[in-house]
C-alpha cells in the first residue's frame, strides 16, 4: 500500500489498469474453470451412473439367477469404454459376484459396497455403486471405476491455456496502460512540474500550459488565474511596502529633526524609541535607555502624577496633555509640555522643554506682583493727593467767591454812586476793574464747577440730549443776542447719564462754539450724532476760528488757553470739565480743527443696557 501511495500518477494508472485486467481475466477464467470442473464432474458422474444403471439393468437377471458368466459378459461390454478401468457386481449380501478389469489394471475392489452408495472422486478415479433392482427389491450393486486421467489432463491444459491467455492479456493491458497512463498523467505531471518550478524559483510570472480541455485543463486555468492574482497582490504589497517605508522615513525624519522630544514606551514600560531631543532631555545616554524600563531608569517615577497619566494612557488609552515639572535623579528640575498619546506599541510622548519660559514666566509674575504693589502704592498716594487737591480747589473757590462777589457788587454800587463825577478815563478804569472782577468770578465759578464735578458721584438716568441742548441754548441766548447763528441740530439719542453734568458738558461745548464763531458774520453750529453698536457719538461743530492741532495736547488741560483772552474770552477750564465729566460717564472726548475752518468737538458715551 505504501508503494502505491508513493508512486506517481502514471504508475498508479498503470497499476490500476493492470490489476483490474488481471483480476477480471482471473475471475472470468476461474469462473469458467470452476464451472467447467463442476460441470464435467457432474457429467462424468451422470455418465458413469448412467452406465452403471445400464449395467445394473442388464445384470439383474444374471444376479437373480446367479449366472456369473452372463453377468461377466455384461461387464465385458464396458470394454468399449476406454476410461472405465474396472467394474464389479455385488450380490444382495454385498459379496462380490463378478469383476471386470480393463487390461489387467490393478484394482482393489472394496470388499463390501458402502451404505450410502455415493459416487466418490478420488485421486485418479471416480468410483461408485449403482444398485441393481429386481422389481422393488435390491438384489445387488454395480461398482464402477472410472479413470480420470484424461479429465485431469484436460483440466491441466485448460489451466495452461488460461495462463497463456492471462499472460497475453497482461502484456496487452500493460501496453494499453502505458499509453493511457502517459496520456492522462502527462498534463498533470506538467502542471506539477510548473508548480514546483514556480515554488523553487519564486518566480510568479511563469504560467502553466493548457494541453487538455478536461478537469486538468480547468485546473491549469485556475492555477494560472491564481498566479495572476498572486503577482498582482505581490505588486500591491511591494507598492504598499515602499509607501510604508517612505512614510516611515518621513516620520522618522520628522521625529528626529523636530524641536520637541519624541519617545515611544511599550506596554512593558520599556523605551522602544527616542529621538535625539528626547535622549537629551532624559539626561542619559541612548544606550542606557533603549530597552530599559522607565521605572528602572527613573526610580520613584511610579509615585508621580506624570506616571499616573502615563498609566491611564497605557491602560485606558486616554490621551493627556499636561505641563509637568520633572525632577531628575540628581535633583535638578525641568519643565515640559507633555502630550501623551496611545499608539499601537504602547504610548507616545511628545515633550517640549519649557523650562526657560517657565522661569521667565515666574520672574515676570514676580515683577508683575512687585509692580502691582508699586502701582497700588502710587495710586493711593495719587488718590490722596488728588482728593487733597480737590478739597483745596473747592475750598479756595468757594472761599474766593464771596470776596469776588463783593468786589463786583460794590463796584456796581460805586459806579452808580459816582457816575456823575466819572470822566471818560475813570469810567474806563472802572469798567476794566469790573471786567477783571467778572473774569475772576467766572474763573472761580468754573473752578468750583470743575472741582464739584471732580467730586460728584454720577447717577445714571435716561437723558434726552435734545432737551438739554435746547435748554443750554436758551440759557446762552443773551450772549449771542444780535448775532446771526444757524443751528443745525439733528435728533440726538436718549442716553444714560447724569443730566446735570451732561448739561454742563453741552453748555461748555455750545458756549465754546458760540464764542469762537463770534468773529464770523454768519455762524453755523451743528450738533449731530454718529452712534455705533456700543457707544453714542455726539459732535458739536462750528465754523469759527478753529485751532492748531499742534496744540491738541493742551486742549483739554486745566488752565490751558490756546487763544488770547482778548480774542476769545474764557477761563480755559471748560474743556477740562467736559473731559472730566465724560470720563466719569465712561466715555471719551476729542476734537478736530484747522485754524480758520472751525472746530469739531466729539464725545462718546457708552450705551448702557440695563436689560
Amino acid at each position: 500500500m505504501k508503494f502505491y501511495n508513493k508512486s506517481s500518477i502514471r504508475v498508479k494508472i498503470k497499476l490500476i489498469i493492470l490489476s483490474v485486467c488481471f483480476m477480471a481475466i482471473l475471475l472470468v477464467f476461474a469462473g469458467f474453470y470452476i464451472y467447467e470442473m463442476i460441470n464435467s464432474r457432474q457429467m462424468l458422474l451422470n455418465d458413469l451412473s448412467t452406465k452403471g444403471g445400464i449395467i445394473a439393468k442388464n445384470v439383474d437377471a444374471a444376479l437373480a439367477f446367479s449366472d456369473s458368466s452372463d453377468a461377466a459378459e455384461v461387464l465385458l461390454s464396458l470394454e468399449t469404454q476406454p476410461n472405465i478401468r474396472g467394474a464389479a457386481i455385488y450380490d444382495a449380501e454385498g459379496n462380490i459376484f463378478v469383476t471386470y478389469r480393463k487390461e489387467n489394471h490393478k484394482i482393489e475392489f472394496p470388499a463390501k459396497p458402502n451404505e450410502s452408495e455415493e459416487y466418490i472422486f478420488s485421486e485418479n478415479v471416480l468410483t461408485g455403486f449403482e444398485p441393481v433392482y429386481l422389481g422393488n427389491e435390491k438384489i445387488g450393486s454395480v461398482y464402477l471405476v472410472l479413470d480420470l486421467s484424461e479429465q485431469i489432463a484436460r483440466s491441466e491444459s485448460y489451466i495452461k491455456i488460461g495462463l497463456l491467455v492471462m499472460f497475453g492479456t497482461l502484456i496487452i493491458s500493460f501496453i494499453v496502460a502505458t499509453l493511457v497512463a502517459k496520456n492522462i498523467s502527462a498534463p498533470i505531471v506538467s502542471l506539477a512540474g510548473t508548480a514546483e518550478k514556480i515554488a523553487k524559483l519564486q518566480d510568479y510570472s511563469i504560467r502553466a500550459e493548457k494541453k487538455t480541455s478536461d478537469e486538468t485543463g480547468l485546473l491549469v486555468d485556475s492555477f494560472n488565474d491564481m498566479l495572476n492574482k498572486i503577482m498582482e497582490r505581490d505588486r500591491n504589497i511591494r507598492e504598499t511596502n515602499i509607501n510604508l517605508q517612505n512614510a516611515e522615513k518621513r516620520y522618522r525624519t520628522t521625529l528626529d529633526n523636530m524641536l520637541e522630544g519624541a519617545q515611544i514606551i511599550g506596554f512593558d514600560w520599556t523605551y522602544l524609541y527616542l529621538n535625539e531631543v528626547a535622549v537629551k532631555q532624559s539626561r542619559f545616554p541612548r544606550e542606557k535607555l533603549i530597552g530599559a524600563k522607565i521605572t528602572d531608569v527613573y526610580p520613584g517615577i511610579e509615585d508621580t502624577e506624570l506616571f499616573k497619566y502615563m498609566k491611564l494612557c497605557m491602560e485606558e488609552r486616554k490621551p493627556h496633555y499636561m505641563e509637568n515639572e520633572f525632577i531628575y535623579p540628581d535633583g535638578s528640575v525641568s519643565w515640559y509640555n507633555l502630550n501623551i498619546e496611545p499608539v499601537p506599541e504602547g504610548i507616545f510622548i511628545l515633550s517640549a522643554d519649557i523650562t526657560e519660559e517657565k522661569m521667565l514666566q515666574q520672574e515676570l509674575k514676580k515683577y508683575h506682583e512687585q509692580l502691582e504693589e508699586l502701582v497700588k502704592q502710587r495710586t493711593e498716594q495719587l488718590q490722596e493727593a488728588n482728593s487733597e487737591l480737590e478739597s483745596f480747589t473747592y475750598t479756595v473757590s468757594h472761599d474766593l467767591r464771596a470776596p469776588v462777589r463783593h468786589i463786583s457788587g460794590f463796584l456796581d454800587i460805586l459806579r452808580k454812586n459816582i457816575s456823575k463825577d466819572l470822566d471818560q478815563k475813570n469810567e474806563r478804569y472802572l469798567n476794566l476793574i469790573k471786567e477783571a472782577a467778572v473774569e475772576m468770578g467766572n474763573l472761580i465759578d468754573d473752578l468750583l464747577t470743575f472741582s464739584r464735578t471732580a467730586k460728584a458721584q454720577i447717577t445714571l438716568r435716561p437723558v434726552n440730549l435734545n432737551y438739554i441742548v435746547y435748554e443750554e441754548i436758551e440759557k446762552l441766548k443773551p450772549d449771542f443776542e444780535g448775532r446771526k447763528i444757524t443751528w443745525e441740530i439733528s435728533k440726538l439719542p436718549e442716553v444714560k447719564g447724569d443730566p446735570h453734568l451732561l448739561g454742563i458738558v453741552m453748555c461748555n461745548l455750545i458756549s465754546n462754539a458760540v464764542k469762537f464763531t463770534a468773529k464770523k458774520e454768519e455762524a453755523v453750529i451743528t450738533i449731530n450724532c454718529q452712534d455705533n453698536d456700543d457707544k453714542h457719538l455726539i459732535c458739536v461743530k462750528d465754523n469759527g476760528a478753529g485751532f492748531e492741532m499742534e496744540y491738541y495736547d493742551k486742549l483739554f488741560g486745566v488752565f490751558q488757553r490756546l487763544h488770547n483772552t482778548s480774542d476769545f474770552p474764557g477761563t480755559g477750564i471748560g474743556l477740562a470739565t467736559v473731559k472730566k465729566i465724560i470720563s466719569k460717564h465712561g466715555g471719551e472726548v476729542w476734537a478736530q480743527s484747522k485754524p480758520g475752518e472751525g472746530a469739531s468737538f466729539f464725545f462718546s458715551l457708552p450705551k448702557i443696557n440695563d436689560n
Partner: protein
Amino acid sequence: MIDNIMLKHLLSNNKLSSSIRLFLIIYVFLFKFNLTYSQTQEEIEYRLKAVFFFNILQFIEWPDTAFKTNESPVVIVVIGRDPFGKILDETVMNEKIGDHPIIIQRVQTLNEIQNCHALFISTSERYNYINILRELKNSSILTVSDIEGFSERGGNIEFFIEDNKIRFAINIDTLNQANLKASSKLLRLARLVN
C-alpha cells in the same frame, strides 16, 4: 450361521479362494450329516426354486387383458403337491410384480382355478401334466415346473439342475402361443427349447 442356500451361492462364486472353498466344503460336509440341522436338501432346493420362480415372474410380460387394473394381483397357483410349503409365501411376502400384488393359491385340479397368471405344476402331476397343458392352451398362463422334459412337452419354463446349480429352460414357442413375453435378459440365461 451361514445358510445353506448362501453356502451354495458362495461355493459357486468363482472369486473365492481355494482355502476358503475347502473350508466351506468341509463345513458343508459336517453340517450335511448333522441330522439335528433343520433344513434338508430338498428344502434348500425348493427355497432356491421359489426364489427363481418369483424372479422369473419379474421378467415375464402378460398381455393387457390378463389384468383388470394395474393393481390387480398376480395370481400364482401351485397345482398338485405343494413342494414349497410356506417358503413360497415367504418369498413373495410383501413383494409385488410391478404394481401387482401377489396371491398364491394351491389347487389340486384346474377347475379350482378361477384366475391365474402363473401356474407351478408340481412333480406330483408328473403323469397328467400334459392334460393340464392342453387345457391351458389358449390361456395366457405361465406354466412352470421342474418335471423333467416339461419344457419340451409344451410347458413354458422348466427348472433343472446342472453342475449343482439350478437352471431353467424356456420354450419360446409355447410362450408366444400363450401370448406371453419373456425379457431377453431371462432368455439369455435360459436354455432355449422349441
